[in-house]
Amino acid sequence: MIKLLTNLDRRWIFLAMALCVAVPILVIGLTGKTIPETPTPLAEAFFNEIDTAGESKGRRGHVLLAFDYDPASAGELSPMAISLVHQCAQRGLRMYFMSLWPVGPQMIDESISKVIDRHYPELVYGEDYVNLGFKAGNEQVIKVMGIDLTTEFRTDTKGTPLQQIPMMKGMTSLEDFDLIAEISAGYPGTKEWVLYSATQYNIPMVSGMTGVQAPLMYPYYPGQLKGLLGAIKGAAEYESIVNVWVREQKFAEALVAGGMDEAKAQEVAAKLMDKPAQVSTWTESAEAADLDPKTKAELITIATAPIPGEFLEGQRRMGPQLFAHLLMVLLIILGNVVFFAQRRQGGRS
């Protein structure tokens, strides 16, 4: 056995890893069941920072969404990017998309089409969100944006001059944004944004990033970075917070539309969110006596409607990650078994 392990062809390891990743993907894909998530304070801080964007200025939050990643890291980063747009859209924030990576605009388009076009078609381009596209020059772009936004961006990706875009009115430099939300796969990315914008101009910033980058960015939390999502784990935690919150918001919206006052609606929505399975029982209770049947039916629909697949991508990917990590632990143990066996043999000889 030890001899077999000592001379183990690395292709067997590759095969084991392939199975550990492929089998959970298939099982989760077929059954639709994901592994539960417990959010960490980092993900909660990320969520809260976006939730309160613009509040200090008493206005609708203006959020700069910098998507600095490419297809290679999209598997790790696009779930958090999608959840980010989801939260911003639901919260009614103004979204300014941009990228310092040449292929970033495709990543932006993907998020817009999956979230805004499909689920928030009422949002108007130019009033609620704008795509400023890619700008070459790495951190130079950030530096120049800090001085003057229009020097770097004269038009949006469609070629419309910024002066003609309603939501660009009054946006002259980075300091006009309430929050910078960065999704980063490397250079230029979180570090550059922290150094040249968050630190320089004291703008609140949150960032999601790849697993390899995350350890380097922890020092910036909670000073320069107000929230941090690391890899798929962070994405899955944030995704679960956003999904719960969005459903709660929909409950509250339905209750307000049904005539309940806003504070009470929020309180009831939070209660319903704790036990969504018991919504239909609640609609029969005395507390719901004043609601009309249409509102009750809508509440049950919200509680039972499945969460769209694009908002579960992060949680779905935690399955393969779990088995891949377990395999790594097993391989490390096996590697050490071989090591100690060889050392013992060496000692005997």
């Binding site: 200025k57 008493g58 490419d70 430099s173 250079y187 980058q213 380097l216």
Partner: protein, 462 residues
């Protein structure tokens, strides 16, 4: 309909009529319970001194109304003098043209007089419209705060400011006094960056000083760096095996200092390769790196007295695309099986792919990078790794020139400075934390906390 119902309708109608005529509104305004809060007074705006421009500090005297929610700060951006004059003239020209025609048609005056008269009227009109400020809200501060720092303003445009009180029931007061026009100009030096400037001065000064001392004969010692010592071994092995040496200079451009440091090490590796007559191949991910690498390798071959052996075609551009480059290099490694692989520069996710591929073909591998996230991968898969500053010290180590070794000594002064700052910071923060709840030490706690704040926000924040 009953008599009561009819009376209610009549009262309601009368109320509506009164409301419309403003009587009720005036009556309500006179009622103290529903009255809006009083505005703040003595609003003063001062351009922040010693800044980079675009910042104005506002201060005011509190509103006399008690129990208020806060204050809302408003700004009006005046048209900048030059642009304003131009716009006023253009607008006035356009209006004057229309009015000249009207005057000519209606009043029978001479064309020149009509033109002049219209011009004056038009200018008055435009001045009147531009005098109406367009207030934009900058933000809200709490009721106990009586100051606000307005940031993000244009350095060359005049501004005026105004503040309103927000009452307990969210009603806004009338406008406060409007400040005088103010241009938030930039100072000649950004005072906020003074601590950084001083730190930079000390570190650069130390480097400069030790370079001079080294030139004057002060002995400089540097510890052995295993990774650099192994360069000869790796090149010798490649020569013995009759296989090539692969040198990857990272995947960033020449504006990244790691790439520059990588090119420096390349010079030494190429010189050794030229001496041993080994073949060195340098695929690059940036065109400018290719040009720089060619210059360096050519110079190394000249230094080794082997200019004839230099082949520029072995230093070539592949692609800027990260994984395209990795695919090419991994494929080449698998086919050509180089005996030695050097990875010196800025690397990202490709570090492990390259190092593991190199490991699988049995190459001796030496890596150097200042990307902390990639160091564990290189340490795991390579034989030697230059960690962070060792990589930057490579140039001095390899050249052995006193100038360069002196700069390393100067760098050590920087480390001592950082160490002192860390010790001071940790001590102050610990005392601040320990005295937080100690009775009778509130004064000490407060001064320690403000010292920590100064260190973190002013010195490190610069």
């Amino acid at each position: 309909m009953s008599r009561v119902g009819l009376r209610s309708v009549l009262i309601l109608t009368t109320l509506c009529t009164l409301c419309a005529s403003g009587v009720v509104v005036a009556a309500m305004a006179s009622n103290s319970a529903a009255a809006p809060p009083e505005p703040p007074t003595n609003l003063i705006a001062v351009d922040k001194p010693w800044d980079g421009g675009g910042v104005v500090e506002l201060e005011w005297t509190a509103s006399v109304t008690p129990d208020i929610k806060g204050y809302e700060v408003f700004v009006h951006q005046m048209v900048s003098p030059l642009v304003g004059e131009l716009e006023t003239n253009m607008q006035a020209d356009a209006e004057a043209e229309d009015q000249t025609q009207e005057i000519l048609e209606g009043e029978g005056v001479a064309p020149e007089d009509a033109d002049q008269q219209a011009r004056v009227e038009a200018e008055n009109d435009v001045t009147l419209t531009t005098n109406e400020p367009e207030w934009t809200s900058m933000g809200i501060v709490l009721g106990n705060e009586l100051a606000y720092t307005a940031t993000g303003l244009d350095k060359a445009t005049p501004y005026v400011f105004m503040v309103r009180t927000i009452g307990a029931d969210s009603t806004a007061s009338a406008n406060s006094n409007i400040t005088t026009q103010l241009i938030p100009v930039a100072a000649w030096f950004d005072g906020e960056k003074l601590p950084l400037f001083c730190i930079l001065g000390v570190i650069c000064g130390a480097v400069f000083l030790f370079v001079l001392l080294a030139r004057n004969g002060m002995p400089m010692k540097i510890r052995t760096i295993a990774g650099l010592k192994a360069v000869d071994e790796a090149v010798g092995r490649a020569t013995e095996m009759g296989r090539s040496i692969l040198y990857i200079n990272g995947i960033q451009d020449m504006d990244d200092l790691q790439t520059v440091a990588g090119v420096t090490v390349l010079g030494h590796v190429a010189k050794t390769a030229a001496e041993y007559d080994a073949k060195i191949e340098v695929p690059t991910s940036r065109s400018l790196v290719m040009t720089a690498a060619r210059e360096t390798v050519q110079a190394s071959y000249f230094t080794a007295a082997r200019p004839d052996a230099y082949n520029p075609d072995l230093i070539y551009y592949v692609t800027d695309e990260q994984f395209g480059f990795v695919a090419y290099v991994s494929g080449m490694m698998t086919r050509e099986k180089p005996a030695a692989c050097f990875y010196m520069g800025a690397f990202f996710a490709e570090s492990l792919i390259l190092a593991e591929t190199g490991n699988s073909v049995g190459a001796i591998q030496i890596a150097g990078t200042a990307q902390p996230s990639q160091l564990p991968f290189f340490v795991a898969a390579c034989d030697y790794t230059l960690i962070g500053e060792e990589f930057f010290a490579a140039s001095a180590y390899l050249s052995g020139q006193p100038d360069q070794l002196g700069s390393l000594k100067g760098q050590d002064v920087g480390k001592i400075l950082v160490g002192i700052l860390i010790i001071i910071g940790v001590t102050l923060a610990t005392i601040a934390s320990a005295t937080a709840s100690a009775p009778g030490l509130a004064g000490l706690h407060e001064s320690m906390t403000s010292a920590v704040d100064f260190l973190v926000n002013t010195i490190l924040g610069s």
